[in-house]
């Protein structure tokens, strides 16, 4: 005992009890059970039996899996296309605002505050396919449309991503704004002595210093979009013609769509495969963030 405050006794265990109980029952055991269940045939009536790799084979043989992978990658790609450059550009411009800066960031963050379910249901109404739908009225004024936002299998996914980007972009803007305050200003002064233009300063000084945070938001976005559920579930239910069935929707369908009892084994097998891929990405993320907190 090197210090007078050193636990190891009973009182320490009392303090750890909530953690051990809650994490044990609702995190550690279920994680272990997920691994176990992926090798088992489970239903709620008879005891589980081991079936080896059968669940994994069933999942990999499901033609819908490849559709779901394709759709999820497409969602992630579109989300990067819409949602990656815009918040960065907005944050760089906003960092130079001299008056009412708070107003800018509050407005940008407002969509993040709206409950996601409300946002999706509201946008579902905006996406009304008739010429008098909200978006179609706006586009109609400039002679475009009407567009079947959610009913056309080629447009449904971009529509989902548009709403998801609107809902999330404000959070990314705030992260970039915080990172921009950490950009060292000495380099700007040095660049001015070399008569560098404003654009060159942004390109050669600001952006390179944001490299770390750009990688982090990139990975966060991939990990987040790989688990997208709410938008396809509420907007389209996976349709039309499975064009918006994502991996999480497929897992949900395996486990819970059939009220007579789900394919729990297949659902856990697929979620474990997804988790392994995402785990690798988060490991990269943690390495990177640890890298910066040292510097």
């Amino acid at each position: 005992m090197n210090s007078r405050i050193r636990g190891g006794g009973l009182s320490t265990l009392v303090f750890l009890l909530p953690l051990l109980l809650v994490f044990g029952i609702f995190s550690w055991i279920p994680i272990g059970r997920a691994v176990l269940m992926s090798f088992q045939e489970t239903n709620l009536v008879t005891p589980s039996t081991f079936v080896g790799l059968q669940n994994f084979r069933d999942v990999l043989a499901d033609p819908l899996l490849w559709t779901a992978i394709k759709n999820t990658l497409y969602f992630a790609f579109l989300a990067l296309l819409f949602g990656y450059p815009v918040p960065l550009l907005a944050a760089v411009v906003m960092s130079e605002v001299r008056r009412f800066k708070g107003l800018y960031s509050a407005l940008a963050y407002l969509p993040v505050v709206i409950p996601p379910v409300v946002a999706v249901l509201l946008w579902k109404f905006f996406y009304d396919a008739s010429p008098s739908g909200v978006f179609n009225t706006i586009l109609g004024a400039v002679g475009i449309g009407p567009i079947s936002w959610l009913q056309d299998s080629a447009i449904a996914m971009p529509s989902l991503v548009l709403e998801a980007t609107w809902a999330a972009a404000g959070g990314t803007v705030i992260i970039y704004l915080a990172a921009l305050t950490g950009v060292s200003t000495d380099l700007y002064e040095a660049a001015e002595i070399d008569r560098a233009s404003i654009w060159r300063k942004v390109w050669h000084i600001t952006l390179p210093q944001l490299r770390g945070i750009l990688l982090v938001t990139f990975i966060l976005q991939i990990v987040g979009t790989a688990q997208v559920f709410l938008e396809p579930f509420l907007f389209t239910g996976g349709g039309p013609a499975n064009s918006t069935t994502t991996l999480l929707l497929l897992i949900y369908d395996y486990a819970f769509a059939n009220s007579l009892g789900g394919e729990y084994g297949m659902a856990t097998a697929l979620s474990i495969m997804l988790a392994v891929v995402l785990g690798v990405l988060s490991a990269i993320y943690f390495r990177v963030t640890r890298g910066w907190s040292k510097s």
């Binding site: 007078r4 405050i5 636990g7 190891g8 009182s11 320490t12 303090f15 750890l16 909530p18 953690l19 809650v22 994490f23 609702f26 995190s27 055991i29 279920p30 994680i31 059970r33 997920a34 269940m37 709620l44 130079e96 001299r98 509050a106 407005l107 963050y109 407002l110 505050v113 709206i114 379910v117 409300v118 249901l121 509201l122 109404f125 008098s132 739908g133 909200v134 959070g171 705030i174 992260i175 915080a178 404003i198 600001t206 945070i213 966060l220 990990v223 709410l230 999480l248 897992i251 949900y252 486990a255 819970f256 789900g262 729990y264 856990t268 979620s271 988790a275 785990g279 988060s282 993320y285």
Partner: protein, 291 residues
């Protein structure tokens, strides 16, 4: 104010100043339309008759306002009940999260038992496990929980308890407690304070800032949650707004439905308006640590 990308001498050039101001004005207008526009539209639609909203969604009250929508949504559609359910779910999750995070943080950062590192490691390891992995086994745990012989389906505990297993909270609280001055603890100990006294009268009062952060995260997460409460609360009488709203859409008239959407948005927006600085600061923090 510290200097930014544009230097003071560049700012003196009229061309630079005009362009910058122009860009800023355009951005401000865009932010108003994109950030505030949908919400203002919802506020308007909440007090507009259905026919007006359908025929001319962008017109401003062609046939007057219909304040009754809000009252109808609140009473006849029972938004009040779902609203209270949401509050109850958020409050319980918040309490459980605070209890677990503060006691665990205290044990691991202040009492520091020898096996503490192992526990911290196992807790942090769960950050790497995406929540989707837990979906099915956690659901089966709720259907048939260990220790209890009763299914927790259709019980608020099914939402409250799993909310406590949040490794991110433990990480935040532990980091904060690690930085508290240990001399204060030693002094309290010399004055005869036991661990419980130390926890309640010394450590907790010193940790208001971090408790605020954890509270905001907890309440927002509970307010937003959809999939999990939908799975474990199949009884409509127990469901929160987020779960109930999509179902309401099917049998409630449009103007009343939009009024219900507007009501569900009020509390988060008011919280944001009041604690704006705090939200924006913790929002940035979330990006810096969350996995």
């Amino acid at each position: 104010m510290s200097r930014g990308i544009i230097s003071p001498s560049e700012w003196l050039r009229p061309g630079v100043r005009r362009t910058t101001r122009g860009v800023h004005a355009v951005l401000l207008v865009l932010l108003f339309v994109i950030g505030l526009g949908p919400m203002l539209w919802l506020a308007k639609a909440a007090i507009t008759p259905t026919q007006d909203t359908l025929r001319s969604p962008l017109a401003l009250w062609p046939h007057g306002m219909d304040w009754a929508n809000l009252a109808t949504a609140w009473t006849r559609v029972e938004v009040d009940k779902y609203f209270l359910n949401t509050v109850a779910l958020a409050a319980g999750s918040w309490l459980v999260q605070l209890l677990v995070a503060t006691t665990a943080g205290f044990a691991l950062s202040v009492l520091r038992p020898r096996y503490g590192k192992v526990i911290t490691g196992v807790v942090l390891a769960t950050l790497f496990v995406p929540s989707v992995v837990l979906l099915v086994p956690l659901y089966l745990t709720i259907v048939d929980p260990p220790l209890l012989k009763v299914s927790l389906i259709n019980s608020f505990w099914a939402v409250w308890l799993p909310a406590g297993a949040n490794a991110f909270n433990i990480l935040l609280v532990q980091r904060f407690f690690d930085n508290l001055p240990r001399e204060v603890f030693e002094a309290a100990r010399v004055d005869g304070a036991g661990p419980f006294r130390l926890f309640w009268s010394v450590v907790l009062p010193m940790s208001r800032p971090i408790l605020g952060v954890v509270s905001v995260f907890a309440i927002i997460a509970a307010w937003k949650d959809f999939l999990w409460p939908m799975l474990v609360l199949p009884d409509p009488d127990l469901q929160p707004l987020s779960v109930r709203l999509p179902a309401l859409q099917r049998f409630v008239e449009l103007d009343v439905f939009l009024a219900a959407l507007a009501i569900s948005t009020v509390i988060p927006v008011v919280l944001f308006a009041v604690f704006q600085r705090f939200f924006l600061k913790t929002g940035a923090l979330q990006g810096a640590v969350k996995g």
